[in-house]
Each structure stands twice: as structure tokens, then as C-alpha cells.
Amino acid sequence: MKAITANRLTDGRVIYRTVEGQWSTDLAEAERLDSEEADARLAEAEGEFGVAVGPYLIEVEDDRPGGQKWRRETIRLTGPTTGSTHRAA
């Protein structure tokens, strides 16, 4: 399955598009899309103004980022993996 992600305009934080067309920081709330509807939903997101910057599709497997970009998207979801030196708040 796929989901739509972007960065939030005001602060750049990672967000996901929900079934209602809203945006959430929680991947679990993201709308799951099959291949046929994904492009149309993405086009809708791209046409919207105000909340999201640069929406794009990601693979989701078992409620986690999947596909070849799984690591990048996991880091986007959960934060840097650089340990305890400067943990993200």
C-alpha cells in the first residue's frame, strides 16, 4: 500500500495525509492507498494550499515505511538515529 507524506509548511515537520484530506504527524492515521487511487490522491494534495510542502507517495508495509526507501522514511517518521548525544525533542 501507499501513503502520502510531506513536510508541514510552518515548521517543516513530517506529516501524512489522512482519509479526510487532513494532515497528521502519525503515520497510523495516514490514508492507505492502492496503486490505482494513489496518483489521483497525490494530485489532489499537490493542488491544495497552505499546510503541506512537497507531497509525495511512500510505500507502507505492516504500518511501517516499506519499499526501497524504507530507511529514509523510517528516519523521517521516528527521527535521527544518532543516539543519545542530542536526542530530538
Binding site: 515548521d11 517543516g12 513530517v14 523521517r76 527521527g79 535521527p80 544518532t82 542530542h86 525533542a89
Partner: protein, 545 residues
Amino acid sequence: MYKYDTYDHSLVRERIDEFRDQVERRLDGRLTEDQFKPLRLMNGVYLQLHAYMLRVAIPYGTLNGPQVRTLGHIARTYDKGYGHFTTRTNIQYNWPKLVDIPDILEDLAKVEMHAIQTSGNCIRNVTADPFAGAAADEIEDGRPWAEIIRQWSTFHPEFTFLPRKFKIAVNGAGEDRAGIRVHDIGLQIVRNAAGETGFEVWVGGGQGRTPRLGRKIRDFLAPEDLLSYLTAILRVYNQHGRRDNLYKARIKILVEALGAGEFGRQTEEEWAHIREGELKLPAAEIARIRAFFDAPPIAEATAIPATGRADFAQWLRRNRRDHKVAGLSSVVISLKPVGGAPGDITADQLDAVAGIAERYGFDEVRATPDQNLVLPHVRNADLEAVFDALAAAGLATANAGLATDIVACPGLDYCSLANARSIPIAQAISSLIEAEGLAGDVGDVTIKIDGCINACGHHHVAHIGVLGVDKRGEEFYQITLGGAFGTDAAIGNIVGKGLAGDDVPAAIVRLLRTYLEIRDENERFIDTLRRVGDEAFKESIYVAA
């Protein structure tokens, strides 16, 4: 250091007002992202994986105490309590909100700082020797020239939309600590037979996906001709540099295509038209700028203190540098605690550095291309107090130039361009080297790590380089050997197939153990590598992989 005049203040002030308006128009929808992106980039604002990133310019790496304290204030107030010093001697904040950035720029302006020309295809921040004005091997302080270049290049209308970004380095010492051969233009201050100082001019160096060492196109350029000659180089590049292919747009590609001889000939031809014009630097103006860069203060010639303290003695051995004034030393503040993120510094640590610089360091701090800081002028009599104050702030790691003093780009933990992580690899390597007790025995060696081929972490010019690549969703790391950053600049060779990230630290440790086994007496790692070649080391990298 240089102090803003009315023109500098108004220029920065106007830019903040302009950017505040642009942010407001972006937020209320009058600007689209496509329209806004080039505007925010001109103000150092990137959009990375998790958040916006603000890159703040530190002109030729020079800071004073109030500036460092302001950097701490920004980290604490608008970010997550830390900042990240880069190999370009700038500082980056990884978590600012777009809505806060105009206020951050206001705070920076109060201490004569900004984020202008930290992105885009313009002339970027000039790199200088972090020990400029202090180094015992200095021919002449390069900072006045870096400042003259800064003033000339800031918002230069002819060079605002070059084919690609453009980086200039100025080095005034015998040892190249600015990396002149890996910059688009490298300026080495030299003395001619008559005893006059001027510049050797190198062009076409750079790292990234096509690493090249710069080529010398002029043996001696008189100082008053600096800006006209730079203009001539940039005009040749602006005219002929490729704009059709992002990957072939840097000046290094043009210099290679034309040949350094032909590039130099065209530069001289253009220069002949402009050298006697308005760009000739008046002696009075050179003297005015030089006056901002005070000579090191005269000190009583106190000796380096003898000590029975092992920790202080080790710090002196690794982090102290000779100064050109008797009684003074320079010291490196390592931002490489074992297991830490290279270049990261907390808000409290920034406050501590500011206080130490003001109390003991004649109010000067430098950022280095190795992602460390330097106090260029410290009285020998104050060295122990500086060490104790740094230790109290967690900044007294005695590893400058050792294998744990690792350079790393932000990598996939932050950067939207990266393919693989860098910082965790650096952390794992330094932790394993420390656990094995190897750093002291190995001595001087450079290890630099990149998460993509853009090479912000300078892996090409490391004795041991590590380049992260992505293969179908998995991280692998190529090892390069034999690169060097300074006077003996060299591009490292890839030694073989990539390793899994978990295998890299042990491979590096085996490599270092091989060096210890085969080195001749007093031979540094790079000397042994150059003597025996890659093969002996290659076996140690792959033996158990």
C-alpha cells in the same frame, strides 16, 4: 575582527525585512513553494528530512564571544538545544520553524551575522586558515583578503546566478589549512624574490561526484589586483561554464575541458581589459581592512606550563599549537567526543566557549574545516585554566588530529540529499577505536565520512574516507585510501566493494592495526600508505568481511 559599517548594517537589515515579508507571503499563500524556494535558499533556509535547516554564515570561520553566545541563544530558543558546525566553517540548525526564522535573523544581525550566500549558485563563504593571524608558520594573515572578497562578492549582481555554487579559499601559512586545492579558486599567499607578498592562484578544485585538485594558473598576483583577477576568472567561468547539466556545471569541469593553460590564458585576456579599472584595490583601503585584524596581543613570554596532570598534558600534546608570538598558544576545541556526533555543540557549550574566549582568548574563536573550534590566542599562563573550563563544559577531548577526530556530514539522519547515514558510522568507529585503545598509538590520521557523493564530509581528501551508498534500500560503505586535504592534497582511491555499515568500524580498526604492524619508525599513517600502497591495507579491510 571586522566590524560592520553603516552599509553592512543596512544591507543585512534590508534583507531581513525583505525575507520576513517573503515568509509572510508564503504562509498566506501569495507565494507558492516553487516561488518561495529560491528566496528561502538565498537566506540559508533549506527543507531537510524532518524540518527546515538554517545555515548561518561564519565569514572565514571567525567569531567573537557575543556571536558565539548568540549562536547558543538561537540553539536554546528556536532549536532543540544544539547546533552543528560544518566543514565549510558555518553552523547549521536542524530544527527551526519557518515562522521563527525572521526572528532568528534579527538576533543574528544584532551581533553582525546573517545567513546570506550560504546557498545558491553564488560566491559562498570564503574559507581561511583557522589559525590565521596566530600560526607560527604564517607568511601573512589571510583574513583581510577574505574580508575584502566577502565585501566584493556579497550580492554581486554579475555573480549571483553563476552556473553553480562557487567557493574561494585563502591560505596565508606554509601549511595549507584552508584547502586551496579543493576549492573553485584557491589563493595561497606567497613571498616573491623581492620580499613582497602576493597570491598564487589555483582554479578548478572541488570534491563532489567529480573530485579534482585545483591547477595553478598564476605564480604571483599583486595584492592590489586581487579583485580584478577574481572577476576575470569568474567571467570566463560565467561565460563558458555549463548550465545544461547540473553535474558538469562547476568550474572544475570547465578547467578540465579547456585545460588549465587555456583557462589561464582566457583569464589573463579578460584581466587585461579590467586590471587598471575600478577594481584595483587602493593601498588605503587595504590598510583600512587590515586594521580590523589586530596583531596578536603582546604577551609576556611565559613558557608552556609543566604539569604532573596526565589529562592536561595529553590535551597540550594533541590540542595546543605553536603561536607566532612568544608566550601565546592556539588551542583546538575538539567537537568530537568519543561516540558523539561530529561538529555538534550544545547551547550550554556555546555559552561556555563564549565565556572562555572572552576571559582567556582575546574574544576570538574560529570554526575549522574539521568541524572543530579554535581559540587562536591564549596566554601560555592561562592554558591550564582554559583546559579546566573546557573540561567542565565537556569540551576538553584531547584528540585533535587523532583517529577519533572524525569528520562526518549530517548524512541520512538529517539531509534530504543523503543516501546513507554518516554520523552513526562516525560514532561507532570512534567508540571502537577508543575501546581498542588505538588512537594514541596510531597518532595523526584523518577519517572522513560522507552519506552521499556530494562529499560535504570531505571523504575524498581523507587518509581514510568512507562513502555511504544505497543499494536497493540497504546502506553500504566504500572505503577510500590516500586522500589528503592540505599542502599534499590528494584524492583518495576506492579500494574495493562496499561494506555493510556494521562491518565498517572493525574494518577501520584492522586497517589501523596493519599500519602499526608495518610502519617504519616515526612514520605517519599516510606516509606508510604512500610507501607500501593500498594493497596491504586492502587485505586487512576485507579479510573478515
